[in-house]
């Protein structure tokens, strides 16, 4: 727009652009963070992102907590898929301690992690739909995320901030109800996902709203430190599960979907395909879990008396478990000296834990590599020159989670 609609007097210094504060509590940001947008009509001229509104200094708090006490902090990073963060943290500790984890535990973890990935992608994709004007999909799939939460509930007792698993395995074995619920999910969910997919994938309106908006090239995405679905949508097949397999991911047969253009539509497609792949992985893992027979089928944690709480009945009746119980709870175990970086493929990409131990009882330094924090800085580049409404879809398709950004 070169001509102004309202003629300003000669020499007027009135600004021709509008400043819009999008956030921190705007319904379209789906989280507490701010964008100061400079708008020319409906076009975005520039954007400045402000984060930190729910910063809780987890890295500092972690310096005064023993390992098991840090798990609940990781829940609150990406709160759409807390089990992924929990597992990532447990595996970091296990790497530091050099624990060997039984195969059955690995497979159970894979089931939980892939369920979490589905719930994460489900939220993201359905919210993209909401921002494009399709509320139905969101309402419909929410009841199936509920099924996932019920499985969590059966395994660990919690739904949102799960604190699931322990260093060395799980706090208890999966019960029959958990497996029944998992079977129910595996039976019902593919149909639902197919319907959800039909609603969007070839939907003319949705395609036109998302194709070509918020695009980034593979080169720029790598330079910006993108990981996860957002990087894969740009065409780079980097996935931590394949590049640095953890928790026996090498035993599973699955593929890594990639996009080409890195726009909102491709991001949606990649997440959608990943849900199908996750289902594949869960089915394989469940099958593998069922193959364990006899005593092996009862294994749900590694033998790590210094970090894994003994069963309560032993704590009350025998000396040794009681001593361990107290030592663990009071945090009186000295960690080995070491420096470890471990990463997992979380909902948004590579979630890394950089842990330095000086041999004390708490970490000397703990740093979280939060994928969302790192790629949010590309937001301005993604939306510059586009329409405000496209910027909103871009924001939700990046899956920006305030908890993860601010740590």
């Amino acid at each position: 727009m070169t001509e102004q609609h309202i003629k300003l007097p000669e020499g007027s210094i009135e600004k021709t652009t509008t400043t819009l504060n999008l956030g921190p509590t705007h319904p379209a940001t789906h989280g507490v963070f701010q964008n100061i947008l400079e708008l020319d009509g409906e076009r975005v001229v520039s954007a400045e992102q402000t984060v930190g509104y729910i910063h809780r200094a987890f890295e500092k708090i972690a310096e005064r907590r023993t390992l098991y006490q840090i798990t609940p902090l990781t829940d609150r990073l990406n709160y759409c898929s807390p089990p992924l963060n929990n597992m990532g943290w447990h595996m970091t500790c296990e790497k530091l301690l050099g624990l060997k984890i039984p195969k059955r535990v690995d497979y159970l973890r894979v089931i939980i992690m892939e369920l979490a990935r589905i719930s994460d992608h489900l939220i993201c994709n359905s919210i993209v739909g909401v921002d494009a004007g399709a509320y139905t999909g969101f309402l419909y799939v929410m009841q199936y995320r509920e099924l996932i939460y019920e499985i969590y509930e059966e395994v660990c007792g919690a739904r949102l901030t799960t604190n699931i698993g322990r260093i060395g395995g799980f706090e208890r074995n999966f019960n029959d109800i958990a497996f029944q619920k998992l079977e129910k999910f595996l039976k019902e969910y593919p149909g639902v996902l197919k319907e959800f997919e039909n609603l969007f994938q070839r939907n003319r309106i949705f395609m036109e709203r998302t194709m070509g908006t918020g695009a980034i090239s593979a080169e720029r995405a790598l330079n910006y430190g993108f990981t996860g679905p957002n990087l894969r949508a740009a065409g780079v097949d980097y996935d931590v599960r394949v590049h640095a397999p953890y928790s026996s991911y090498e035993d599973f047969d699955f593929s890594i979907p990639v996009g080409t253009t890195g726009d909102n539509y491709d991001r949606w497609l990649v997440r959608n395909q990943e849900m199908w792949q996750s289902l594949r992985i869960i089915e394989q893992a469940y099958q593998k879990v069922q193959e364990f027979k006899g005593a092996e089928a009862e294994v749900y944690h590694a033998d790590a008396p210094e970090y894994y709480l003994p069963p309560k009945e032993l704590v009350y009746t025998r000396m040794e478990p009681m001593i361990w119980h107290f030592k663990i709870i009071m945090g009186e175990i000295n960690m080995p000296v070491g420096e470890v970086y471990h990463s997992v493929e979380a909902g948004n990409g590579e979630l890394g834990f950089y842990l330095i131990s000086d041999g004390g009882r708490t970490p000397y330094r703990l740093h979280f590599r939060r994928p969302c924090f790192i790629y949010y800085q590309a937001f301005e580049e993604l939306i510059k020159g586009s329409m405000l409404s496209d910027a909103i879809i871009t924001m939700s398709s990046l899956n920006l989670i305030a908890g993860e950004m601010d740590a």
């Binding site: 005064r64 790497k95 530091l96 590049h243 970086y341 590579e350 330095i356 740093h367 800085q377």
Partner: protein, 167 residues
């Protein structure tokens, strides 16, 4: 296939004794260089045809109050995605003069990572386009993750193992 050995050899060839403290904790090649050299090393790791460490995984700082003259460490985690190998590269700086060159020219991702590092440890990245706090409020006049601001210790140290008949 690129291995830790080759990376180390390449670095030694190029920078001789200026890169030091090689180690491989948990299989990750770790080394150190003087802070004035950080961009030279990062550039070399980026540009070299064999090394190609072109993905910046992470930047963070660590505070070691007892090491006089090198209290703050800036730690870079770099990744070569083609050969799937990572390195950890550290520079140490004096806390009185915590100036380190910025890596934003090389990696756009470094922008916020460096701002975060500045925010919590006060490492000033020379040449950074927007060196201000990111997660904390701008009025804050201290760097909260430094060790001089301890939290209350939750782990008990007042109780001896001897009392329990062990050690």
């Amino acid at each position: 296939m690129l291995t830790n050995e080759i990376v180390k050899q390449k670095l030694v060839e190029k920078f001789a004794e200026q890169v030091t403290n090689f180690g491989e904790p948990y299989g990750l090649l770790t080394f150190e260089a003087p802070k004035e050299m950080n961009l030279k090393v990062l550039n070399f790791l980026y540009d070299d045809e064999r090394l190609k460490f072109r993905f910046l995984t992470d930047i963070c700082a660590v505070h070691y109050p007892d090491q006089k003259g090198r209290e703050l460490a800036v730690v870079y985690h770099l990744h070569n995605m083609q050969d799937n190998i990572r390195v950890r590269f550290k520079v140490f700086t004096d806390i009185e003069k915590p100036d380190v060159y910025t890596a934003t020219g090389l990696f756009s991702a470094a922008n916020w990572m460096e701002r975060e590092t500045y925010d919590f440890y006060g490492v000033k990245f020379t040449g950074h386009p927007n060196m201000k706090r990111i997660l904390n409020v701008e009025e804050m006049d201290y760097f909260p993750l430094r060790k001089e601001y301890p939290l209350e210790d939750q782990a008990r140290i007042d109780k001896d193992d001897e009392m329990f008949g062990r050690e």
